[in-house]
Amino acid sequence: MSEIDLAPLRTAIEAYIPLGRSGLLPALHAAQNVYGWISEPVATEISRSLGVPLVDVHGVIEFYSLFYNQPVGKQIIRVCTDQACALKDADGVLRQFCSHHGLEPGQTTRNLALTIEASPCLGLCEQAPAVLTTDGGQWTIGTGSSESNRPSSMVYGLIRSLTANCGNGITSLASYGNYPALAKALGMTPEEIVDEIKASGLVGRGGAAFPTGVKWEGAAKAPGTEKYVICNADESEPGTFKDRILLIDDPHRTIEGMLIAGYAIGASRGYIYIRAEYPYILPVLEHALNEARETNLLGENILGSGFSFGIELRLGAGAYICGEETALFESVEGKRGFPRVKPPFPTTHGLFGKPTVINNVETLCNVPLIISQGAAEYRRIGTEKSPGPKLFCVSGDVATPGLYEVPFGVTLRELLEMAGGVVDGKQLQAVLFGGAAGAFATSKHLDVKMTFEDLRAAGLPLGSGVVMVFDETRDMRDILKRLGHFFAHESCGKCYPCQIGTQRQKEILDRISAGRVLEGDLIRLQDVGWTMTDASLCGLGQTAASAVLSAMKLWPEIFGRIKAEG
């Protein structure tokens, strides 16, 4: 092998050296942009420069799907094969790419020009089948004739408050306005802001539905002067794409929400952690942050208030688990994305062990609304227990998939009618609620109101707002098989129930899908599912069987009778 010229690497990672270990992911991304992959001498140089043990650099590269320690193609075509895309013949699209280039999925051409990979959900579910092609620092979305370097945003619904600026391209600072909610907030005390957020009844929109005001209060009261605000933009739940649209069309709303959070808890630094499958959002955010800095809405002594706040961007590298808050901290700290045991909780021991507020993009986008109009006005829409607007990511077999903003409280039937109903006049078979970590509903749930309280009563999770529709012709066993593969691919491997359970679940679901069920598979699947649910360390394992267990209740007949009959 010829000697690798390390000079371009040194230039590329120079900015990250002062960050030490927390500069590891950015440095690895920079290295990969230069060389296409991370070779031993490159990893060694990064280890030396950042002061990270060699083996830890290796462990980090190994953890993240989108870091490569072997040569890959200059161009990489990633075809999403998760649920929503599978309905639109993603397998066929992948096969076509492969046969056209004479490759198998996961293979690279001999001249290192091209790699083709099957990918977990790319967050482009409403425009399925989704394909993301990267080429050095460039990317394109879509197949053949419909290629673009920016995904289109299809936004509908009954109201447009969170999505007021979505659907018409990027909103500049000038058209967004100079953070009026922040200006108002800076005239309030931090306690007043926390009280306002608490009074609004806002709960987290990332899936866990934790009360935002309580979280902020915890971090505000936690001892210490070094605190952090993190925007969790690692949107990776299959079927979810709302944060992508909020960030790419209206980046300032999220930034303003972070600033208000920072002021409220007494933090001076924040991070936006974006999944690597959204590379096209990075330049949009970089530009928006610059606009804010140039207008003194970000940086030192903001608007003469004495409040200072800086924001750094962090790019993930292909790991669903990093959407879990403590795994995300580990990732920002330059480690493998292993979730931490809780307690202690992030509000007291978060990023770098310091008090931290971590909120989802959509949650943060509610903050300027609440501060501008006041909690009482904010609560005028939605229900008593689920106030405010909500985004639903509607995909699958509906006439008009897209992002729907509605007040909490519309029924599933109303939402599906807005989306034009089941496509081609077919009957509804099922709706996957809340994503891969969610549960299935059927037509008997059509009149359930979409609120936290009503869905909970119906045994359905709201999760991150996924509403994925399957018509009567769909083979649910294939859907379940893909869920199984997704979790087995994304388990971090830390705790045993999830590390082994997701693998065994996948194997059993593969058999069910292929009609090769073994005696006892049904009980086996249940025991694995409940063990993961009850005993896993983090939310990934605790929900990795959620959809499967709900399907077993709804359609016992699709599991396991094949062998017995034969």
């Binding site: 031993e40 990893a43 043990p53 060699l54 083996v55 830890d56 650099v57 290796h58 462990g59 190994e62 953890f63 799907s65 320690n69 790991a319 493998r336 045991v341 087995a488 691919h489 994304e490 388990s491 971090c492 491997g493 830390k494 705790c495 045993y496 129930p497 590390q499 082994i500 359970g501 997701t502 693998q503 065994r504 194997e507 058999r511 073994l518 086996r524 025991d527 694995v528 409940w530 063990t531 649910t533 009850d534 005993a535 896993s536 360390l537 605790q542």
Partner: protein, 235 residues
Amino acid sequence: MKDEIKLTVDGQEVTAEPGKTLLEVARAIGKEIPTICFHEATTANALCRICVVEVEGMRVLQPACIVEAAQNMKIQTRSEKVVRARKTILEMLASTMDLSEAPEILRMMDEHGASHERFPDAERREVPVKDDNPMYIRDYSKCLLCWRCVQVCADDVQYTYALSFDGRGYETQIGTFFEKSIPETTCVLCGQCVGVCPTGALKPKREYLLEQGMSPQEISVLNTGRKKRTADKRR
């Protein structure tokens, strides 16, 4: 004692000092809670989840090795949920790796009525033995990823940083920098990792060779390499 904590374990009222884990509390009253990854010398990470117990009011089972006793806590160490989780975890382990040299886990399986054949057609983690240094061998077909070796090699004991992880999820394996052989890593052959390995995945080379049927005489002949190297250097 002033700040004593009162709690109940399987209906039995117990008092404990603040800061004691549920595992310590249970063991103090003679209630056995099984553990696999837990080791006094390493930071408890609650990986194996075999020590989980049911705590009233908690949505999910709690690992006794790290959860501290709290005032008025009610815990059950052998509820139906707990037993199902432990048994299934043990059965899944047996379907994954070679437990033949992990007598404690085999005994746990017997106690829980866990079957070795519960998961037919399961993909096992099988890799060839790595025999690349004079001190110890690495047989990762026996590795159950308790993390102890990585921990003692790093901040828990030795600060050597020779070991980390390859892969992720079920594909996870203990690994070195770009799969280097042990002599090419930062390893100082301290042997701490061998000492804490619970399954015989890490084993002294001599023990391994004896098991392979070599005689002590044959093994000592292998060690003459050292003499020769010294001689070479002098020349």
